[in-house]
């Protein structure tokens, strides 16, 4: 398991004072999180009290059988959904019960997403897709463009910036999505099955890319995957079975 040894490297979030001062804390900690879906009268307990931590600047894999609750947990960690019970702290802030608007703002500030289906906006070019999250920031159009180009360069796509998502390969699309997730310089990147739609070789490349930017940007990355071969040896793993954390 990686330990955090260089708090100075948190240069990317100058606005959030408490986060810097609490640098020794884990990026995310969750306590007894539960989530029950309600479909008409039937209640589906997807998570039954999971606890754990995501360390700063670490890559954490979430593994487990299909239907075990991996996506449910990621959605809670990404503030896309609210837990039925338990407590969630991200970057020292209790985010268990944020309003819709506060959750959106928190995501915009601190969380990046990489999706299984890439989820790029089809009518925007590669560069515009990467610029898109920066619309939430007070930045000039030129600054947005420069920042997007920088990240597209980092994922090796500088040549494809003017193409539409439909005009590049799946692996390239996921690189664009990674650039988009990172361009707002989040503290936490959440990726639910980012390689499920890709072949083995490309999957490896994508995971390696995420691991590399994680080290460069000191971002915590949480990846949920079926494919245990992708799990890098020195990363943390949370194993979920039937809505509960399993002991290794």
């Amino acid at each position: 398991m990686n330990t955090l040894n260089d708090p100075q490297s948190f240069a990317y979030d100058q606005t959030a004072g408490p986060i810097l001062s609490a640098a020794a804390e884990p990026a995310v900690s969750f306590e007894n999180l539960s989530k029950t879906y309600r479909m008409d009268r039937i209640e589906v307990p997807a998570l039954r009290g999971v606890s754990g931590q995501i360390e700063r600047a670490d890559t954490t894999f979430i593994k487990g059988p299909s239907g075990s609750g991996k996506s449910t947990l990621l959605n809670l960690l990404g503030l896309l959904d609210r837990p039925t019970g338990g407590q969630l702290t991200i970057l020292g802030e209790d985010v268990t019960r944020l309003s819709d608007r506060a959750a959106a703002d928190f995501r915009a500030q601190h969380i990046g997403f990489v999706f299984q289906g890439f989820n790029l906006i089809p009518v925007l070019s590669v560069r515009e897709n990467v610029e898109f999250p920066l619309l939430n920031r007070k930045m000039s159009a030129a600054a947005r463009k420069d920042r997007a180009m920088e990240y597209l360069d980092a994922v090796g796509l500088s040549e494809f910036v003017d193409r539409r998502p439909g005009e590049i390969s799946g692996g390239q699309r996921q690189r664009v999505a990674i650039a988009r997730a990172l361009v707002s310089e989040p503290s936490l990147v959440i990726a639910d099955e980012p390689t499920a739609n890709l072949d083995t070789k490309t999957s490896r490349e994508i995971v390696d890319l995420m691991d590399r930017v994680r080290t460069e940007l000191n971002t915590s990355v949480v990846i949920c995957t079926h494919d245990t071969d992708l799990i890098t040896p020195d990363s943390s793993v949370i194993h979920i079975i039937d809505g509960q954390t399993a002991k290794e």
Partner: protein
Amino acid sequence: MIWKIALRNIIKNARRSITTALAIGIGGLAALLFGGFVTSIWYGVQTSMIQEQGNLQIYRNGYLEFGAANPDAYTIQNWDQVAALLAADAMLAENLSVITPRIDLAGVAGNAETGNSKTFIGTGIVPSEVDQMRGWDGWSIGQTGTVTGLAAGGSDSVIVGLGMARMMGMCEALAVPNCQDAPIVEEDLTGEEQDFSALVEEEGGLGDQGAGASKPQLNVMAATSAGVPNIARVGIEAAQAQSVRAIDNSFVMMHFEQARSLLYGDSQEATALMLQVVDPAMVDAVKTRVVEVLNGAGLDLSVYHLTEVDPTFDRIFGMFSFIFVVVAIVLSIVIVFTIVNTISMTIVERVKEIGTIRALGFRKGFVRALFLTESTLIGVIGAAVALGGAIIVSNMVNAAGLQWTPPSNATPLTVQLMVLDNPIFAAAVVGTLIAIAFAAAVLPTFKAARLNIVESLQRA
């Protein structure tokens, strides 16, 4: 970026966008053209009426309320002095192009030759001044009235309605087109009418006045202010169609002096003074000034706007405005449904995109703005289609020179669809179209913004 996304999605769904924009465009086109027609009615009918009656009319107080029962009790006394008083005012002198008297009268008219006779309603006017009024075109719409046709004839000449001419058995004599004389049935004359003919015979000296001898002659009889019947023999200059059939059947227009001496002898009385204002924008100011002048002189007279005297204009305009409102409501409903449908389809197709945008940290308002922008843009395109189409079609229609006869007119007006001539209306239609496009999308976009993020992301 929002604009880019909106515009590119509009282009991406070209067929649907074009259909929606066309629905807006055709609806707007209809509204603009119909509005252009109503605008032309507003100007055209008012111009006709101002040419006929002036913008303002002065009556003795109470005439409009009670004058019909006893017109002679409500005449303007010494009308010539009142006219001179108005003309002497600097403001009025500058703004009034015509001040002219009118007498409304009724009586019995008889064909001197055939013995046909019937009641008539008539008006006595000063032909040269009314001819001047008929040249009025204060809004510069290129609409000029025809002259009365009385100015050329002698002081005893009259104009009658076509129906009047027909009933008096004068179709042939007056060369009235599409008019055949009713068979002359002497036996039909009532005793009273025979008395009237006999009365004319008695008076004898009335006939053959001036150059009128070659024209068909008419004997007109009316009661003087003293209640005594008085008779004049006049020569018919021409027969002219009148707007209302009932009036056409009994219309006689004569020289003011003829009517005045027939009814009032030497007394300078008139039913009304008609005032024509050079610039229609000045009417209210002129009216205020006239009131000041009349009151200053302590006269028992009132001045009325044309539409107060004659409700025809308000009725015509009111009717077309009502039709316009109904049509506009129907069109708006169609447009609203089209837009709701289009935006809802767009939203359904882009649920996953909405989930993604929300996950990326955008608030609900951003999602709403995204789709409202798209809808508004379609509205702008539709409004452009409407305006462009309206300009093209109105120019074509105007060039075709179609004619129509408004209910108030005897003669047809050329159809002029005034689209850009009424810029406030055109701008209002364009603005309304865009506003409808925006407003119709509000509900669907609120639904879109409320979508559950996780469920949206799970969509294929």
